[in-house]
Symmetry: C2
Subunit: 243 residues, 2 copies
DNA sequence: TTTTTCAAAATTGTATACATTATATTTATT
DNA sequence: AATAAATATAATGTATACAATTTTGAAAAA
């Protein structure tokens, strides 16, 4: 119902990404263009374009003899993606501290931080949905702080890899011991990061962001360890090689 | 003559990238698919695919109303690209130091370093061509050291941006004062980097690589400052906004 | 039984025709 | 004359037909 007035390409891109993320095509087999095109109700042309973009994203990989298949991700691959995201986000923070950030952007950041506070201290406990949303906003803003379109783009790129986004599978982690406490810890890191940027402490800002990314890594490890007991429809989880 | 047995797509990709890099389509105008397809002697289908990939590379950018145009790069954009390359290469070095590198790869690195030495101390002065080649090899190897396919890929990606590669416009810099001396300095950095990795000194390896990337930045600044006096066919230079 | 060869089938790569949308030009109106 | 509307033109987006390649499967040979 949201697909009207979307181009065939955009439709195919969204649909195909979702199917791949949910493990619809697992098996390492080449995915047939005619079959998938029929499944998505479009022609081969926009589908091929969508496939091309997913290859660029890293979700699919080309086969030497033609066509492409779903890429497989080991746990190490995803850990690397999370670490690399932390590294580039750290660079964004350092650049922001070194180059300065407009008062307007800073006030936006503070507004987001207050939003996160409210999500944590909601009257009926934690407001997951709101937290996830605000957290994503914070990281988007952090990328913007860099003042570099390239850095911003690369953060987005890496964050698009399965389970690498700062908000990935956040709401599935209620089972983690001391989960709410870790959210509070993350929020203190958020504030420290903004503080360091405001004070033009580049090295500190970078280090803090990297440390912040380690939380995602810890959560990912927990997620994969207890995988069987958790709901299995976390997007991207199906792509993690089991061995 | 090298284009036989290349697919239409590969042909279009190479040709189009080269044309764009050399400023054939400067002007910010949308580049017409039919016109360019005719110019490359192929049909629209593989050309569109090639355009799509160049958009993913960042060389072209999509236009909201359809089609795409050549992206424009400010000096700051390129400086950011060089810095980001340094950051990710630094991560590769740190990962290599932390995780360890096989003896075989290390010996390959040492062989490359000796090759660079020979290029610098060639009987008839400096051997540019050889130096450029070996230097590229060193950086490729460094990416490989990370042990992470993702990190390797992202280094390649960023290095593909105009003037961001570690070997970009190296041979055009003979006019730089103390140029050979700076190559010797760079080579000492290379050795220090390998040493740090061998000794599992992650933080040092990372810092050294970042410092190493600053050389490219210095050279880029020199290049753009004296741009009028230098040969103007340095690939990518045409894309730098003059203002 | 296993391997090799060859042909048929199916799949991807490419070209092109068509539909749809954006752009340019012209005409009408203020 | 300047602006707005309308039409004509040209461009991109999409579907499909065809060509080239790969894959599959069967038949023949070892």
């Amino acid at each position: 119902m949201s697909d009207r007035n979307l181009s065939q390409l955009d439709h195919a891109l969204l649909e195909l990404r979702s199917l791949v993320m949910n493990g619809e095509f697992s098996g390492g087999q080449r995915l047939s263009e005619v079959a998938v095109a029929k499944q998505l109700g479009t022609s081969r042309t926009p589908l091929r374009q969508a496939m091309d973009r997913l290859v660029a994203e890293g979700l699919l990989e080309r086969i030497e003899t033609g066509g492409c298949r779903v890429a497989t991700f080991t746990r190490d691959d995803i850990a690397d993606a999370i670490e690399l995201r932390g590294v580039i986000e750290g660079t964004a923070a350092r650049m922001a501290a070194e180059r300065g950030v407009s008062a307007e952007l800073l006030s936006q950041a503070n507004a987001v931080l207050e939003g996160i506070d409210r999500a944590i201290k909601a009257s009926n406990g934690l407001n997951f949905e709101c937290y996830v949303h605000r957290n994503a906003e914070f990281h988007t803003l952090l990328a913007k702080f860099s003042g570099s379109a390239l850095v911003q783009r690369e953060i987005e790129r890496v964050s698009m890899l399965p389970l690498a986004s700062p908000s990935a599978f956040l709401s599935e982690q209620a089972a983690i011991p001391d989960f709410v406490d870790s959210l509070r810890y993350a929020q203190r890191q958020h504030r420290a990061i903004v503080e360091a940027i405001t004070n033009h402490e580049g090295a500190r800002a970078e280090a803090l962001v990297r440390e912040h990314a380690r939380l995602a890594l810890i959560n990912f490890n927990y997620l994969t360890d207890v995988q069987p007991t958790l709901v299995n429809d976390v997007p991207g989880l199906a792509l993690v090689a089991s061995t």
